[in-house]
Point group: C2
Chain length 274, copies 2
């Protein structure tokens, strides 16, 4: 059970559907915050004088008129926090940022202040998104650039099939819940176990190829009989793989070809000399 | 600027240093929650009758006596929430879980209820940790098993040098802040840019090899002259790489060796025949 404890954050996926988020500030950092919040289904209010808006902030405000309410003014006081579920400050003025953080803490509203880690309830990190798949990389304040370098490594490790596969697994799970409804209990455990078995048995690429018909077959043949039929058993066919890297010669094949080429060349050379 | 918006969560690194977290329940899921909270520096209270404790929960309670307060009883009411900054329920009884969630919402305490997504302020996901580096994988409720499969892919993409490199970058940043103190402003921007340049110029393995002496040189020679000397320039030497995979023969070398082996064999065979 030994493991490094302490010193870390609790990485969580905060739910903001239909919630209200206030961003105080309009510069470059504010535009990054808007980008993050647009990932969720929150209503967003941006407070900033117009001349302080970064071009990207402006574009967001113009493009997402239904999701962003823009007020062309400075932060006015605690009344601006009313009805807010989360507040993000992105201001050059550290003192005002700290004041807003204190007000939020009094009102028990989660708050992040850009560049003032000790005033933050939570930090942001580098993110990867592929449909329902979201990945966050945090360095616990030790360097945003390093988070980006790690992000690139992780992006290279993903094939792009993960998002679609997760979407299909989510659909299969919903269909299973309709067939065997109820929250928790023995049935809930059985459902969870069967879904885990499916994910363990089928490859990520196979899961991504699931369609309604195959899902029905999987439930009829698999769930009802407490087993997991294979991809091939259900008539699944792999699409030709999308080659992103050129095929490479394996060292074994390379040396074998080389060996015979050596024989042939020697024979030719010797034959000519005769 | 086009990108898929909506439908996602806000992935954040929640700060729990010296905060108080309540876990209601003691089963297997509770043991996972305790594990997650031990990553942070929070004080933890576990509420559960003793006969409901999972062996792993028991071990945590026995081992981390200074960090975990254990109460051998059921949840009693809103008074149990007093002074709490976060509440996690891990109960089989969905109705009691929902009641606790409602109480938390009234008291504006962030809450997660295992297996009841619509009552949660936030979700958990699969996590990777390497010192200051933390990575979270969320499928937005589409399947914990899939998050684990993605986690394995990402783990394989990491060399293990990332955590130490990030630690060293954090130390360099602290040393730079002592040399050029102050929050925000032009100096803050200059510091951030120089740190970014260092991370871009030096390789991850080189950063991991930084020691106090090299950091001083880097600051004297680099920061003071607004440049980034290379690793070699500062006398850095790479340690022999820790080979975790056996060296492999490249196809080009393999076929060359094969070619000459073919020549040699043919000559020998022909020489014998003479």
């Amino acid at each position: 059970m030994a493991k490094a404890v302490g010193g870390g954050s609790l990485l969580i996926a905060w739910q903001l559907k239909d919630k209200h988020v206030l961003i105080v500030g309009g510069g470059e950092v504010a535009s990054q915050r808007i980008d993050s919040i647009l990932t969720t289904d929150a209503h967003l209010t941006v407070l900033s004088p117009h001349d302080g808006l970064h071009p990207r902030t402006k574009r967001f405000i113009d493009e997402y008129t239904e999701r962003i309410t823009y007020n062309d003014r400075l932060f006015a006081g605690p009344e601006d926090l009313e009805g807010m579920d989360m507040v993000l400050t992105a201001l050059d003025d550290v003192d005002i940022s700290r004041e807003i953080c204190d007000m939020c803490r009094n009102a028990r509203i989660p708050v992040n202040a850009a560049d003032i880690p000790d005033s933050c309830d939570f930090y942001f990190g580098s993110q990867i998104r592929d449909g329902p798949l979201q990945i966050m990389i945090s360095t616990n304040g030790n360097g945003p650039r390093m988070a980006n370098l790690v992000k690139k490594k992780l992006q290279n490790a993903l094939s792009g099939v993960e998002g679609p596969a997760i979407t299909k697994v989510g659909q299969l799970r919903e269909m299973l819940k309709i067939r065997a409804p109820g929250v928790g209990g023995e049935l809930g455990k059985k459902r969870m176990k069967w879904m885990t078995d499916v994910c363990n048995t089928w490859g990520m690429e196979e899961l991504a190829l699931l369609d309604d018909m195959v899902m029905q077959k999987l439930l009829d043949d698999g769930w009802e009989n407490d087993r997991v039929p294979s991809f091939a058993e259900l008539g699944g066919r792999r699409q030709p793989a999308d080659r992103t890297t050129p095929p490479t010669l394996s060292p074994a094949i390379g040396s074998t070809i080389g060996f015979f080429a050596g024989i042939v060349c020697t024979v030719i050379v010797l034959a000519r000399r005769k």
